[in-house]
């Protein structure tokens, strides 16, 4: 896995990922109560997520995280910073 902790890692948003790629969560940039809830649903920093699919009009997206599948609006996905993981 590519999470070597180097400062060189690229940080993009969850919404920037291509379908089928994996990434690790870096931060959830949202107001406290919303960030808290997404983290409670498993999206804590370091968690591996895979962008599985985009809905017919590209919004929302379906991701898998911690063995479950979630539907997230792209507006929320844009506030989640991730670093892409090679392979998978």
């Amino acid at each position: 896995m590519g999470n070597s902790g180097l400062a060189m890692e690229t940080v993009v948003t969850l919404n920037d990922l291509a379908v089928g790629t994996a990434a690790r969560i870096v931060r959830v940039d949202m107001p406290p109560s919303e960030a808290q809830r997404l983290m409670e649903m498993g999206l804590t920093p370091g968690t591996l997520v895979v962008l599985l699919k985009r809905a017919p009009m590209r919004d929302p997206i379906e991701i898998s995280a911690r063995g479950g599948h979630l539907s997230l609006r792209t507006s929320a996905a844009k506030s989640i910073a991730v670093t892409p993981v090679e392979g998978r």
Partner: protein, 705 residues
């Protein structure tokens, strides 16, 4: 806490808790069978499901099914109720002696978040590891013995839908009630957080804001949750508590710990560690769920399939229910004629036939539609398809400020707002649910058609537009679309005003598909039907009798030649409100008809028939009535009274106005609030008056009157 009777205190209370979609209700149903009761938590929108269970040794046990929750840090009314019951802070619900946490074993990590939070409360707990079949096909092997050891509580593997593990669960309940074990919360907080929690817990205990054994859990919640101190129970908390929390958060921030992330990070770290030891993941071929989703949420296949589902629901609601609806009508028609035969003509006969039988019959006729709709909803919910439909529609619905799951309720409201509003309960976000309930009655329900058909047929010339579109049909279509547009506009306004700032949906869970269980489907249909019939039997019966009395009393002296309805209280009210309805193009006759149709919109037609003295009934009535209406002359100008402009104002009024007591009764039930019920009536009727006013006055200015 309110005083509970000695009897209530003697019977042990067991709470069934868990995430949404974990099969919690299936476990609850399996435990209690048909010994269930559904009510609302006092003053709340949340339904309270209770039941009882008989155990060989413990005897009678009271079981309560808590609403689904992702976390003890409540973000919705459902979650607040779960939290409050578990903390014992609800007035009429005693703190449970034992908690059964239901976990979807195939989604173990995420479910363990809430489960370990419950363990931190120190209450005797049992973990029901449900959906073991899905878990195994997903390639997960769980060491439940080790899990039980690590968490300090019994773990019962189950497939609740098939009843597997049920007797073991009952045995565990029995054992735990007799000799409770002490649960271990595996979370290890950073030392700095721990310190602050300890200090806060002491303060909470001192102020009696948390039971001693749960003080630490509650302290962590207060520290890490943005709006924790806004809960009512902290209203009377000493001001120093707020300061302690502020300082604690700032101290953590200084040490590089984000206060609102601390618990989630620590808890998932503990869960990750636990998973390493107790779960083995085998490589498996894609599950049925993944394969199904390749098609069901496919960019083309997904919407196409959803379209077919919607079509199937539409056809079923409108066509399949025709025959049973006709039977119900026939039964009530037969009852009515029986009453006329057996009881001599007079007030009693009139009360029974025109008040009770027609009122209740007019509502019960919707029962087949409600049953069919809830059958479909139960299939979609139970299989996991609802979340996929929401996924496909979320973009469109989101643009309108609505939840993806609002589609089915709003769509159903084209048949009748009653099942539509009842269907809104599949939306777990409180704000989105309330918004859906508030706008659902703007959809063009079946009861509006008789009004539109009467008026459009009377005032709109039957000419073809572009050579093929009949103008009346075009007007009717416009009314349907106008209702939809109004609903979208109202949603936009409410989102920016009264509902602003309420927590919006962040993420929708897409649970694994599973086969719907016949028992669940029947259970849902049965439960919803009973709730509806009970409503029809009480509120609607009472309203029917009141409206009957208002339109029939006092009796007209026989020699005046007045229409009976003119002399009645409703007629007098109609005349009294003429100044209010005149600016929108109504005279007192239309006003009285509108007033009497508060019971149900289609009553407008029969009231107009009564007022204009058309004797024939039902289907023959409309053409006669239309002719009669066309002949009515304006007393001032001598021109026809029912002009196209006046007709359109009447129709616009019916598009928007809340002319249906049954819907209001259902809104009251589903929101648990008179405030929202009255608000719904007020905004709809106010808007109706305003739009008709603008059109009537504007039309006059333009010389169309």
């Amino acid at each position: 806490m309110a005083a509970l009777t000695a009897e209530e205190l003697r019977i042990p209370h067991v709470a069934v808790a868990g995430n949404p979609n974990c099969g919690k209700s299936t476990v609850f149903n399996a435990l209690t069978g048909l010994r269930q009761k559904v009510s609302n938590y006092p003053g709340k929108t949340v339904e309270k499901h209770e039941g009882s269970l008989h155990l060989p040794k413990a005897g009678e046990v009271h079981v309560i099914d808590l609403p689904g929750a992702y976390s003890m840090n409540a973000r919705s009314m459902d979650e607040q109720v779960s939290h409050d019951v578990l903390m014992g802070s609800l007035e009429d619900t005693p703190r449970p002696r034992l908690v059964v946490v239901v976990i979807d074993a195939s989604n173990l990590e995420r479910n363990l978040f809430f489960a370990t939070q419950i363990l931190s409360l120190g209450l005797p707990t049992i973990i029901a590891l449900n959906m073991m079949d899905l878990c195994r096909t997903a390639g997960h092997d769980i060491d439940e013995v080790d899990l039980s050891k690590r968490l300090g509580v019994p773990v019962v593997p189950m497939i609740a839908a098939r009843g597997t593990g049920l007797s073991e669960l009952k045995a565990a309940i029995e054992t735990q009630l007799a000799t409770p074990s002490s649960p271990l919360d595996p979370v290890r907080l950073p030392a700095a957080v721990d310190q602050q929690v300890e200090r806060l817990a002491t303060e909470l205990k001192a102020a009696q804001l948390a039971p001693p054994e749960s003080a630490r859990g509650e302290a962590l919640r207060v520290l890490c949750t943005a709006q924790a101190l806004e809960q009512p129970k902290f209203k009377s908390a000493p001001a120093s508590l707020h300061n302690t929390v502020e300082t604690a958060r700032k101290n953590l921030q200084d040490e590089g710990i984000t206060w609102y992330a601390a618990e989630a990070i620590a808890r998932y770290a503990a869960i990750d560690e636990l998973m390493e030891d107790i779960r083995k993941v085998r490589e498996v071929s894609p599950s049925f769920s993944d394969k199904a989703d390749r098609f069901l949420t496919h960019p083309v296949g997904g919407p196409a399939f959803l379209g077919l589902v919607v079509l199937a629901i539409f056809i079923s609601i409108f066509k399949l229910t025709q025959a049973p609806m006709d039977w119900i009508k026939q039964v009530f028609g037969w009852l009515s004629s029986l009453a006329s035969e057996v009881i001599p003509a007079g007030p009693l006969q009139s009360l029974l036939t025109d008040g009770v039988i027609s009122g209740v019959g007019g509502v019960l006729v919707f029962l087949p539609q409600i049953m069919i709709l809830f059958l479909f909803i139960a299939i979609m919910e139970d299989s996991g398809y609802t979340a996929r439909a929401a996924f496909i529609l979320d973009r469109i619905m989101g643009r309108m400020g609505l939840h993806g799951k609002a589609f089915i309720p709003l769509f159903s409201s084209f048949a009748c707002a009653i099942p539509g509003i009842m269907a809104a309960r599949t939306i777990d976000n409180e704000k989105d649910r309330l918004l859906t309930i508030l706008i659902a009655p703007l959809m063009c329900c079946a009861a509006r058609w008789p009004v539109y058909l009467l008026i459009a047929g009377t005032v709109i010339p039957n000419v073809l537009i572009l050579g093929f579109l009949p103008l009346p049909a075009l007007v009717l279509g416009s009314m349907v679309i106008f209702g939809l547009v109004a609903a979208i506009a109202v949603a936009a306004v409410f989102n920016r005003t009264i509902l602003k700032g309420k927590a919006a949906t962040l993420a929708i869970e897409l649970p694994r598909y599973h086969r719907p269980r016949i028992r669940t489907l029947i259970h849902v249909m049965w439960e919803r039907s009973i709730l509806f019939v009970r409503k029809a039997g009480t509120v609607i019966l009472a309203m029917s009798i009141i409206m009957w009395a208002l339109t029939n009393y006092p009796k007209t002296p026989t020699d005046t030649g007045h229409m009976p309805i003119e002399h009645s209280i409703a007629g007098r009210i109609g005349k009294a409100i003429e100044p209010i309805v005149a600016p929108i193009g109504f005279d007192w006759r239309i006003g009285v008809s509108a007033l009497s149709s508060l019971v149900a919109r289609e009553v407008f037609v029969s009231s107009m028939a009564t007022i204009y003295g058309v004797e024939s009934h039902d289907s023959e009535q409309v053409p006669d009535l239309q002719q009669r209406l066309r002949a009515v002359k304006d007393p001032v100008t001598g021109n026809p009274f029912f002009t196209p402009l006046r007709g359109i104002c009447i129709m616009l009024f019916y598009v928007l106005a809340m002319q249906c007591f049954s819907t209001l009764a259902v809104t009251k039930r589903e929101t648990g609030s008179w405030k929202w019920t009255i608000f719904q009536w007020g905004y709809m009727t106010g808007l109706a008056w305003l739009v008709s006013f603008v059109v009537w006055q504007g039309g006059h200015l333009l010389g169309w009157g």
